[in-house]
Amino acid sequence: MNDSRPTVYLDHAATTPMVPEAIAVMTEELARTGNASSLHGSGRAARRTVEEARELIAEKLGARPSEVVFCSGGTEANNLAIKGLYWSRLAQDPACNRIVFSAVEHHALLDPVTWLAIHEGARIDTTPVGREGRIVVDALREAVESDPASVAAVTTMWANNELGTVQPVADVVAIAREHGIPVHSDAVQAAGYLPLDFGASGLDAMTVTAHKLGGPVGIGALVIGRELQPTPLLHGGGQERDLRSGTIGVPLIAAFAKALEVTVDRQAEMSARIEALRARMVDGIRRVVPDAIVNGDPEPGPQHRLPNIAHVTFPGCEGDAMLMLLDAQGIECSTGSACDAGVPQPSHVLLAMGYDDVAARGSLRFSLGHTSTEADVDALIAALSGVHERALSAAQVRSTFDGTVRSAS
C-alpha cells in the first residue's frame, strides 16, 4: 500500500473501527485487575462494571438484563442458539429434530446447521428467498405447518450481511409463535444501523456482536428469554446463567456496552447520513458504469434494507480482479462475506437469489460505516472508471484464452 495515500475503507460490514469512546473505556478497564467471580474488592468492582454494562446493553436492545448472555462474538452466539436450542428441545422430545432456517444465513448459522444435519441427524428445511434476498414467508409457513411439533427452532437473520436486505422477522415470529416454536434471529449486521427492540420483536433469541458496531472483536451477546435453557456449548464455572462458562472479559464487555450506547444514541442521525452517502455512491457507480446492477431491495428504510450496504454486479467483470485493482489504489471493499474470504466460491446468498455463477462472481460489496465520508465515496468513484475498464479487458482476455485452450483440447 502507498502510505502517502489514506486508505478508503468501504468494508464496514466485515468489521468497523472502534468508536473512540469504546477505545477509551477499554483502555481504562484493561489497566484494572479483577475477576468478576472473585469475592474480594477488585472482583466486586469488576462484577459491578459487568452488570452495569449488561443493563445498558439490555436497555439499548429492548431486553431485560437477565436476557443478555455474553459470549465471544456473533459466531459463538449463533452456535449456542441453534445447537443449544436443538439439543435442549430434542432432549424433551426425540421427534423434535427439525430446524427451519433460510437460504441466505451467514456461515455462522449455515455451518452449525449443516453440522447438526450431518453429525447429529437434524432435518433441515431451508426457506427460499426471492430476487431481493428476502425469504418467501409462505414457504416458511408451509415448512412449519407441515409438522409443527417436529420443529426444534426457526432462525431467520434480521438483515443480510451481503445485500443488506431486511427479513420479515415479525411474520416469522407470528408463524412460529402459534406453535410455541422458539425463533432466533442473527441481528449482527442490523444492530449498528437499525433500531432493535428484542421485547417488541417477539423473538426468543437474538445475536449481536460488538465489532460490527464500533466495539472490540471478541465479544458479543446472545439475547435470550429467561425461560429458554439451550444446552451450553461451553461448560465450566457456570457463568452467564450457566449458559456460557468462562471468565468474563470486563474490558471487552464495558467497551461493547459503550459502543452500543454511542451507536444507538446516534443511530437515527448516523443512518440518515450513511443513507445519503450510499445514494451518492450508487449514483456515482451508475454514472461511471451504466450497466452496473445494484442488488437487493432498492427501497430504503428499516423494513427494507440496511442503509450502509451497496451490493453491485459489474457484468463481464471478475469481482476478485476488481477487488485487487481497487485495493492497489487504497480502496478496500469485499466480494461478499469476509467469512468466506479465501474460498473462491460464488456466494451461497446470491445463488439462492437466483443469480448464476458468473453474475455471482462479478459482484462487489461496498459497506459504509461511522467513519465514512463523502471523500471516501468520491475516491471510489474516481478510481472506478479505470478499474472497471481494466477488469473488463482482463476478463475478455481470459475468456478468449479459455476458449483457445478449450478448442485446442
Binding site: L109, T114, V217, G238, T247
Partner: protein, 379 residues
Amino acid sequence: MIYLDEAATTPLKRDVLAAMGPYLGPEFGNPSSHHEVGEAALRALDQARADVAARLGARTGEITFTSGGTESDNAAVKGIALAQPGGRHVVISAIEHPAVLESAAFLGRTGFEVTTLGVDHDGLVSPDDLAAALRDDTTLVSIQLANNEVGTVQPVAELAALAGARGIPFHTDAVQAAGWLDLGVSRLGVQALSISGHKIGAPKGVGVLYVQRRTPIEPLIHGGGQESGRRSGTENVAGAVGLAAALQMASGPADEVIARRDAFIARVESEVPGAVLTGHRTHRLPGSASFVFPGTSGESILLDLERRGIVSSSGSACAAGSDEPSHVLTALGYDREVAQTAVRFTFGRSTTEADLAQAADALVAIAGNVSSATTLNGR
C-alpha cells in the same frame, strides 16, 4: 493493596497493552478480508501464532486461538472425544478445573463413560492408577499440568507416556502452569494443551488450544472456517497479539520466586498455629502457597486479610460464592469443614519479598486475634 490472587486473574502487563494498542485502533482489520487493512491484521495474527508455536515447540498450524481457557478445555475434551468414532471412554482426574470436569460430565450425559482418577493427599495422580484405568476404547485422557487451588504439578510427561504407548490422545490444561513451567509439547508428550491469556498477563477473552496435527478434533464452534476450520468466528487479533507477547515475557528461571514462596510458607507454618500447607511441598507452582486453617473460618480470614490490604481467595474464583467445599480439597482427603478454611495466595514474578512478608504479618496478627477470641469465648 497487595494482590495475591493471580491464579484468579493477573494484571495486564503494560508492555502487553502496548503491543495490543495498534490492533484496538488503526490496525482494526478483519484478518479474513482480502485487502491491505485485512492483510495487516492477518500478518499480526500469523506472527502471534508463530510466537506461541515457538514457545510450545509446535507447528504454527497446531495453534488455535480461542476465547479463553474454558473454551480451550471444552474444545479439547469434547472435540477430541467426539472425533474418535470408536471411543466411548474418557479419563480425567478428580481435581481438574470445572471447564474439564463439566465437559467430561457433558460427554457422560451423551453416552461416554467417564473415569475420574483420585489423587493422593498432596494432589498427585498416580501413574499406576492411570495405567489401570486405560482401556481399548479410551478416547482421551485429560489431566492438568498444575492445579489452580493447591498448586500441585502433575508428572504429565510420565502420565502422557502411558497413554501415548496405547495411542490414546492426552490433553493437559496448562492454564495455571503457563508462564511458570516448560510447555514444550513434545517433552510433555501431549497431543493437546490449553492456555488462557488472562492468567499470564494478557487480557481476558483470548486463549490458545494446541492440538497435535495428527489428532482428529471436532470443532465446537462452526462458521466462517477461521483458524483452519477448528474455531470459527472473527479472530480477536488484539487479544492474540497480547497473549503471544505475555507468553514471551513470562519466561526465565523462577528460582527466586520459589525461594520467596518457600520462605513465606515456612513463616506461616511456624508462626500461625494450626496452619497446614495444602498440595505438594516441592512439586508445586512457584507462585502458589495454599493453606487450610482448621478450626477457623476461611471466609473471615479472607475478609480480615482484605481489611489489612491483602487480596487473596479461598480457591477457584469460578466457584466463589458457593457454599460447597472445594472439590479439590475434598479429593485430597480434607473433610468438608477443614476444606472450608482454605486460603490461597498466588503471586507473580513481580511480587516482592516485602509483599509476602506483609501478607505473613497480617496472617500472624489475624491468627493472634482469632486464638485470643477463641480463648475468651472459652471454646
